[in-house]
């Protein structure tokens, strides 16, 4: 079972490395969106500090959304996905591998980039630390839940926007606990509660979502 997942991850990573432009452009999207907010709101540090957790988390959500169609579209186009569905291996495990690989090239870079952007918002080092951790814990959930949307909208007209419409409401709990954790650090309440709830969401998302995704893939491939 683990070897299957590892094989899927290494394959997807290898393919992703051949398209590094995709990964990098998602990261630049994140940077640009984050920079838009101060331009729209004003440079006052007090205000920016208060808005920072929400802004950074929302931008992370949007950047993840951008990279989701890639999860299955390429494999679908060249017929690999059908082959994967036909193997005797559980499709859910294959999806789990793809989700992990997706996180490694989208969620993980975002989480590592966020503290740098957080400095633009004058967040304290405590808050920056919690921001990074919250993103590290929360972005796998985004990949997992997003995979369901990607599978449902595979090959459908209006794919990307429709995908966002479907997945963003489901992201809301992750957003609330993720941004809330940073907020709680800033106000002095401590992020433990938020982070544990976030962790629970991620565990649920990563372990249950692949099965819903597999069902959706089979429907899309019929």
């Amino acid at each position: 079972m683990l070897s299957l997942i590892r094989a899927v991850i290494s394959r997807d990573l290898r393919l992703a490395m051949r398209r590094q432009a995709d990964i990098v452009s998602a990261m630049f999207f994140f940077i640009i969106v984050v920079s838009l907010f101060p331009l729209g709101i004003g440079p006052e540090p007090e205000l920016l500090r208060k808005l920072a957790p929400g802004v950074l988390w929302v931008a992370a959500l949007l950047a993840t959304m951008l990279s989701l169609p890639r999860l299955f579209a390429d494999d679908h186009r060249d017929g690999t996905l059908e082959q994967l569905a036909l193997t005797p291996q559980p499709l859910g495990l294959i999806v789990l591998g793809k989700v992990i690989a997706h996180w490694l090239v989208s969620g993980l870079p975002l989480a590592l980039l966020a503290p740098v952007l957080g400095i633009q918002f004058d967040l304290s080092s405590d808050a920056l630390w919690v921001l990074t951790i919250s993103l590290l814990i929360g972005t796998p959930a985004l990949s997992g839940i997003g995979a369901i949307g990607a599978a449902l909208t595979l090959g459908v007209r209006g794919g990307g926007v429709l995908l966002s419409l479907l997945v963003l409401p489901l992201y809301i709990p992750v957003l609330i606990f993720g941004a809330g954790a940073v907020d709680a650090t800033v106000t002095g309440l401590g992020p433990q509660a938020h982070l544990s709830l976030l962790g629970a969401l991620t565990l649920g998302g990563v372990f249950f979502a692949p099965w819903a995704t597999a069902a959706a893939l089979r429907i899309a491939l019929e």
């Binding site: 909208t153 429709l162 479907l166 489901l170 809301i172 709990p173 609330i176 907020d183 709830l197």
Partner: protein, 249 residues
Amino acid sequence: MNNRLVSWFKYASPQSFYPIAGKMIPWFWALAALFGVAGLYVGFLVAPTDAQQGEGYRIIFLHVPASWMSMFIYLVMAFWAAMGLIFNTRLSGMMASALAPTGALFAFLSLWTGALWGKPMWGAWWVWDARLTSELILLFLYIGFIALQSAIDDPRRADKAGAILALVGVVNIPIIYFSVKWWNTLHQGSSVSLTKSPSMAALMLWGMLLCALAFWMYSIAVALMRARSIMLERERHTEWVRTMLTSKE
């Protein structure tokens, strides 16, 4: 045992359900009108003034039933979606699709009446109260479902994809509600909440209940009407639709 299974599945064919639904629809309209008149009579003509909120509170006779229906319809929709996935019956999928627009309508009404209630009471057209915010997210879930189904051309695939989405949604609704409640209590020290409804006099409860029943009967009537149109459209290549429509000439 086999006989009973077979007889239930008989109604799972659009061909047998279509005329049955047609006969049921007027009855549900009648019930809706009955409960509606009764509910509005109690709520708007008989129920006393509220001590804290004056006459404006009467919006709850529309707001609360609309909220209840929006949530109930989602559950029923998810139920039919699950039935369609498990038993592979076309009709179940059609029922789920028939329910969605009505559910979205009630979610919207809940938000609209909630805003009109909030404005005189709390001075703002929108309060990020846990219930209203969850209702907004529920509306998004409905719209996502409808959008997904209209984007997929193949009706069977649309049924099944929508079903998965509805089931994922139904699992997420408690999570979303809990997280929004959490978010709301942490960010608002004050008790701005629409859930702080006035302490209910018996008449007020009756009014709400009767209106809720009216909305429920309405939903069934409308869903059956929509389901019949969906059946006609999707089964248009079958013999029974052809004979039924051509014999009407």
